[in-house]
């Protein structure tokens, strides 16, 4: 008989004094960890199947459950640690590519945490946002080189299409399919109330959500799912997805089991069929070809909507960004290597791409050097965790940020990194009706509104402290940043001084 080499990651600890055998944990767990043993009148747990999503912990009426890291240890080895060993066992057992979800969890440097912000003292007094006007609204889109007025003082320069965001934050692309209908509805309604935008991802736009169009960015990826003329004109902007921070150079693949009736209608593909997005767009092999796609989208949308191009942050991102600007895009989106995903090969997620902070600094610098920074807005993504990260991103040169993981956390994600299984107990990354209905959009959209409103106020506090009353005045103002514990090379790339300088 062959032995199963894999050991559990988590241990379910049940306080038998508190447990009342109500079986809520059993009903709540889609991984079927908990079961009731009628013979002994006790609840049992299969540690092996637990993903540590906290659903049972939080719903247990008596607080009887705790999930812990599984205490079993391999012999201590700094090289062959438990994870490295377990991965070998799994691949030897199944012969499969290791699949994972959410962003890169490895202990790489988080540059946001190595940068400190400035504040005014004595001179250039700080501004109190509670009593003074403070502008956090931004316009995203290509800006003209100059403004021209006629003799009557009227503007004669044609302004390229822009989208207006009340806060420099958008919800990043997460397709219907990778996340649930209720999760999408929460994002769409929150974006509408906040005066920002959410992004359809590459899964098309459900008929019921066309009404949120003013606050929607529709995405076009290599699979072209759900893309037609009506879809392309349904949103405020169109985004071409070239790459994603979690899996640069890799396509997407929604397994057929997640393509139910509603997802099928939204993607316009048969029920149960795999939705495969090839790694490249096969009509784009060059910057000139990218221009062709950008302008095909502009042609079909009457030149009324900004066209975004999203790439993963990779080694030569600055040169690519310059090409994207010159190809006619209105907005470039750069997604760092910590960006989330519904599913990605683990080795790719953990080893490919570069930190967004460095990519952002080098792209902004390159576009300025070439004198084309005004021609394109720069939106960044790839693990923006809080309002301070956003302020730092804007000081490094970003026009706005996309948040994905943070938005999902706001609606109940517990970062168990198991999205790909489709069994999300919080009703987010699943298409199973029983699980989807656990997520109540009426409640969850308000949590998103709360989060962004709180961040907006924090942004105002922080920039007010610098004596700045408009987010536009902070953009690319790297003097407001100082590095801490960084090498000269890192400081050079970030274009900032060290603290104390």
């Amino acid at each position: 008989m062959s032995v199963n080499f894999t050991t559990p990651l988590f241990k379910v600890e049940r306080d038998e004094n508190k447990c009342i055998q109500c079986r809520v944990c059993e009903k709540q767990c889609s991984n079927k960890v908990h079961s009731y043993d009628a013979e002994d009148d006790v609840m049992r747990a299969k540690d092996q199947d637990c993903v540590n999503c906290h659903r049972c912990v939080l719903l247990c009426p008596t607080g009887a459950l705790i999930i812990k890291k599984y205490p079993n240890e391999f012999r201590e080895n700094a090289n062959w640690n438990g994870q490295a060993i377990s991965e070998i066992y799994k691949q030897a057992d199944t012969g499969t590519v290791l699949l994972t979800s959410m962003g890169n969890p490895k202990p790489f440097t988080i540059y946001w945490d190595k940068m400190l912000l400035n504040a005014s003292q004595v001179t250039n007094p700080s501004i109190d946002p509670l009593r003074e006007p403070m502008e956090t609204r931004v316009l995203i889109g290509r800006k003209p080189d100059k403004l021209e007025y006629n003799a009557k003082g009227e503007l004669v320069t044609e302004i390229p299409p822009q989208i207006e965001l009340n806060v420099p934050i958008m919800f990043s692309a997460m397709s219907y399919g990778s996340i649930s209908r209720n999760a999408h509805e929460s994002l769409a309604r929150a974006a509408t109330e906040l005066g920002i935008c959410y992004n359809t991802g590459e899964g098309g736009l459900n008929r019921d959500f066309y009404k949120y169009g003013k606050n929607t960015i529709v995405q076009v990826a290599s699979g072209r799912f759900g893309v037609n003329k009506e879809y392309l004109n349904a949103g405020a902007a169109i985004e071409i997805k070239i790459g994603q921070g979690a899996k640069p150079g890799i396509g997407g693949h929604l397994p057929g089991r997640k393509v139910g009736e509603d997802v099928s209608a939204t993607r316009m593909i048969p029920i149960g069929s795999d939705a495969i997005s090839p790694a490249p767009h096969h009509d784009i092999y060059s910057i000139e070809d990218l221009r062709q796609l950008i302008y095909s989208l502009k042609e079909v949308s009457g030149y009324k909507k900004p066209v975004f191009v999203k790439i993963a942050a990779v080694h030569n991102a600055a040169a690519i960004a310059s090409g994207i600007a010159r190809a006619g895009a209105d907005v470039i989106v750069v997604d760092g290597f910590r960006g989330g995903t519904g599913a990605a090969p683990l080795r790719v997620r953990d080893n490919v791409g570069i930190p967004i902070e460095l990519a952002l600094a080098s792209i902004d610098e390159r576009l300025r050097q070439e004198g084309i920074r005004n021609q394109i807005s720069l939106v960044i993504a790839g693990s923006v965790r809080n309002s301070a990260d956003i302020v730092k991103a804007i000081a490094l040169g970003a026009d706005a940020v996309y948040i994905g993981s943070a938005a999902l956390l706001a609606i109940g994600c517990h970062m168990c990194m198991s999205c790909a299984t489709g069994k999300c107990n919080w009703g987010i990354a699943t298409q199973e009706p029983e699980l989807v209905k656990r997520l109540n959009p009426d409640i969850m959209y308000k949590r998103l509104v709360n989060l962004i409103s709180a961040w907006n106020h924090e942004i105002q506090e922080i920039i007010g402290g610098m004596g700045i009353n408009a987010i536009d005045s902070l953009r690319g103002n790297r003097l407001m940043l100082r590095g801490i514990g960084l090498t000269n090379k890192e400081l050079e790339i970030l274009g900032i001084h060290h603290a104390g300088e």
Binding site: T94, R224, G256, G272, D283
Partner: protein, 244 residues
């Protein structure tokens, strides 16, 4: 019928002229077309355009029901992400013809380039069809997810192949119909030869007849029974590749 002379007109202006023209006249002829892109993009049902010359890339992108007839060659990405409609090309056509098309028909009198029918889809009653009069380049039907690709092999020399290599790589829906047996090495591991059904034969006969009509060719010698059908082994080809 409205006639527009496209000579020396940039594509943006040309497409605007077409938009303007279809408001009053659904029948349009474009003369002296020479490389202008995106002709017919997004145009709806009822519009008919005759194109004399050589339209540029991405002709009929996102087209939504219009009918285009081209007296010349098509370039790359004809019918890109087309939703519905018909394209008739009296000539050859370039790479990625019918990229991600979801519905409608494309008839090409001569040859087509690489990656034709890539990621063609189907959804409910929308089942796109591309009929190729002569032969196709490599990667025909790559990532094909629906619809039908039909290669007639007309006018080829004896022994000349109807398709290039890697036919049907990544195919997970739809079918490829070839008028004659092909060397199996040309077919990707995701595709296999399967028997023709009666529905297939009806479909083939319908499009062969239409081909003959559009190009004024005698197609009576083309027998649907002689076609070889290649279809995906699975509509979930990569499900076993990844860990759970």
């Amino acid at each position: 019928m409205k006639i527009i002379n496209a000579q020396d007109i940039y594509y943006r202006q040309l497409n605007e002229l077409v938009d303007e023209a279809v408001k009053t006249d659904k029948d349009i002829t474009l003369d002296c077309v020479f490389g202008q892109r995106y002709i017919g993009r997004g145009l709806p049902e009822g519009v008919k355009i005759k194109i004399n010359g050589f339209p540029g890339n991405d002709m009929a992108a996102y087209m939504d029901g219009a009918e285009l007839e081209i007296f010349g060659n098509g370039q790359d990405a004809v019918g890109n992400t087309m939703n519905y409609g018909r394209i008739i090309i009296h000539g050859n056509c370039g790479d990625t013809t019918g990229y991600a098309m979801r519905g409608g028909e494309i008839y090409v009198e001569g040859n087509v380039g690489y990656r034709v029918g890539i990621h063609m889809k189907e959804y409910k009653e929308a089942r796109p069809v591309i009929v190729i009069g002569a032969k196709a380049g490599d990667f025909l039907g790559e990532y094909m997810a629906g619809g039908a690709l039909i290669v007639l092999g007309l006018g080829l020399k004896k022994g000349e192949d109807l398709t290039g290599r890697y036919c049907g790589t990544g195919i997970h829906g739809g079918a490829i119909f070839i008028n004659g047996k092909q060397d199996p090495y040309k077919y990707a591991k995701e595709a296999a030869q399967v028997e023709l059904t009666d529905t297939d034969k009806t479909l083939l006969q319908k499009h062969i007849t239409a081909f003959g009509k559009y190009f004024k060719k005698d197609v009576r010698q083309i027998n649907p029974e002689n076609f070889y059908k290649y279809a995906p082994l699975s509509n979930n080809p990569y499900s076993k590749m990844y860990s759970k």
